[in-house]
């Protein structure tokens, strides 16, 4: 059995065989996972400095020189690395931070990190997806669309499976609710309980739920539908909320109302929250950094202490950094144009198994083994469950962890 590292569900039941440099047979892979496995055979990177192919030793040596001479390096990405590599990365940031201001940030620093920090600090109650499969009779997909982002979420955990207390499953016992700005593929499945909001409409929607739970008339156009929702919530025996980017971007720094809603729901019945982090080990990084610093997604190490706040965000760091280590993500594809442009003007060290916009712009490219396929290790599923895995393909490429260890030695 293989683990699929295509998303944060880390599906453990994958059967795959490879032949002559291609995926020959696969079982249980979703469409996204299939693309992820096929990616092992296309657009692989080679060690490069300034566009010229070099040995891996030269590339690592040059990477270390750049980081060592930087006054404010940014170490960005991490969400698609093993925990072992992430630990090495945090240690590297600390080491660099002894003589410079080294910012380390993962991809969740723009979105899910704010919610994950509340989950990790215990402000928001969470649960495992196995709990959801066994007990949940109501699942709310709020600003999330697992049919597109985590395709096997509904079949493995939240809607279709027959759990310990949910043998009658979706036919009789499970209700799915979608709250979104569009009729997403997931919302189509939840057609009876689909609530379409305008962008930024989440706060008024929460206020309306709170009002109707307290027996007041909600200030919404469709009062009848809102009362139906309140009835479902009140009858729920065990509920789960899966917030996605839609909700988190909408709330930004106004998480208190969401926490207030959760507190009110939990007075009635248990409602747990599992943030829908996207990348395969984003939560792993959040947990490691939180354990180390009390912050989940972005900090700056400087003179032995860790600083947090807007001035230590990726956006701020991108404007003042003089070197970038990109690993486990493709920041030039994923970040706003202004930030991407700022990064592209600095010397970038890209540790990546495959070609990306970032590797194309990088001063140094270091190829690495693909996590889950060529590199084993540990990752944390979106619900906090740790999963260990072995590589399923032979590779002579160094793992992220090995590359970082060599850079660490040299700086």
């Amino acid at each position: 059995m293989a683990i699929c590292t295509g998303c944060s569900l880390l599906c453990e039941d994958i059967v795959a065989s490879f032949e002559n440099g291609s995926l020959k047979h696969a079982k249980n892979l979703c469409r996204k996972g299939h693309g992820h496995f096929q990616a092992a055979f296309t657009e692989r990177t080679r060690p490069m400095i300034d566009g010229e192919q070099v040995t891996i030793d030269k590339a690592v040596e040059r990477a270390a020189e750049i980081l060592k001479s930087a006054k404010s390096p940014l170490l960005y990405g991490w969400s698609n690395c093993t925990e072992e590599a992430q630990s090495e990365g945090i240690a590297l940031a600390e080491k660099l931070g002894a003589t410079a201001e080294a910012t380390i940030a993962c991809t969740t620093s723009f979105c899910e990190g704010i919610l994950m920090e509340r989950v990790l600090s215990g402000k928001i109650e969470t649960c495992t997806l196995d709990d959801v499969r066994n007990y949940a009779d109501t699942s709310i997909f709020w600003g999330s669309d697992p049919s597109s982002s985590h395709p096997r979420h509904l079949s493995r955990f939240s809607y279709y499976p027959r759990g310990e207390k949910r043998q009658r499953s979706y036919e009789e016992e499970r209700t799915c609710i979608a709250v979104d700005v569009r009729r997403s593929p997931t919302a189509q499945l939840c057609s009876n309980y689909y609530f379409r909001l305008p962008p930024g409409g989440d706060l008024p929607f929460m206020e309306a739920i709170l009002a109707v739970l307290d027996g007041k008339i909600p200030k919404v156009a469709d009062k009848k539908k809102m009362i139906e929702l309140a009835t479902v919530l009140k009858k729920t025996e065990w509920g789960a909320i899966f917030p996605g980017p839609g909700l988190i971007y909408s709330l930004q720094d106004k998480m208190e109302l969401f926490e207030q809603l959760l507190a009110r729901l939990n007075e009635i019945t248990p409602f747990k929250v599992v943030p829908m982090v996207a990348d395969c080990n984003a939560r792993g990084f959040n947990e490691l950094l939180f354990e180390k610093t009390g912050h989940a997604s972005s900090v700056s190490f400087n003179g032995g202490s860790a600083a947090y706040g807007p001035e230590h965000s990726v956006l701020a760091a991108a404007k003042k950094c003089d070197a970038v280590l990109a690993i486990g993500s493709d920041p030039l594809s994923e970040l706003p144009i202004g930030t991407a442009r700022a990064l592209a003007h600095q010397p970038i060290i890209a540790i990546d198994p495959r070609r990306s916009l970032t590797t194309d712009a990088a001063k140094v490219v270091i190829p690495s083994a693909l996590i889950g396929l060529e590199a084993g290790g540990t990752a944390v599923r979106m619900d906090g469950v740790k999963i260990k895995f072995e590589p399923v393909m032979n590779s002579e490429l160094l793992t992220d962890e090995q590359i970082l260890a060599r850079i660490m030695e040299a700086v």
Binding site: K32, G35, R183, Y249, L332, S333, P336, G338, A340
Partner: protein, 126 residues
């Protein structure tokens, strides 16, 4: 020439995601990323049909994308609200101080070619 102001919301699509995993530099990924889903009223306002090209611009930048009409029926019409997959094309419209989840943009028909990934790469280096 007709112009329409819209809020563009970033969404996910499993087909676009799969295409990106295979290659960010492929025509398939470009065709699924440089694509804006519009309400039928906005399509009519711009006098465009599926596949016609639109220049989307705001203070952050500009991009040429293909238009496609939303499949939502009249009951769920969403004039002024458009959707694009998260991608380097969408990110051309995102400023550093705006929320990445949605952006405001002005759309207008254009004869220009759909923005190539190589053009986006060149902009980053400019």
């Amino acid at each position: 020439m007709a112009e329409v102001e819209v809020v563009v919301v970033a969404v996910r699509d499993i087909f676009q995601d799969e295409a990106g995993r295979k290659s960010l530099f492929s025509e398939e990924y470009k065709s699924l990323s440089a694509l804006i889903i519009l309400d039928k009223q906005d399509m009519a306002g711009l006098a465009v049909k599926d596949g016609d090209k639109l220049l989307a611009k705001n203070d952050a930048g500009s991009i040429v994308v293909a238009a496609r009409a939303s499949k939502d029926d009249a009951k769920e019409a969403h004039p002024g609200l458009a959707f694009m997959c998260s991608s380097p094309w969408y990110n051309q419209l995102v400023s550093d101080d705006s929320c990445q989840g949605s952006v405001k943009a002005t759309l207008a028909p254009t004869a220009e070619a759909i923005t190539a990934i190589s053009e986006i790469q060149a902009r980053m280096k400019s």
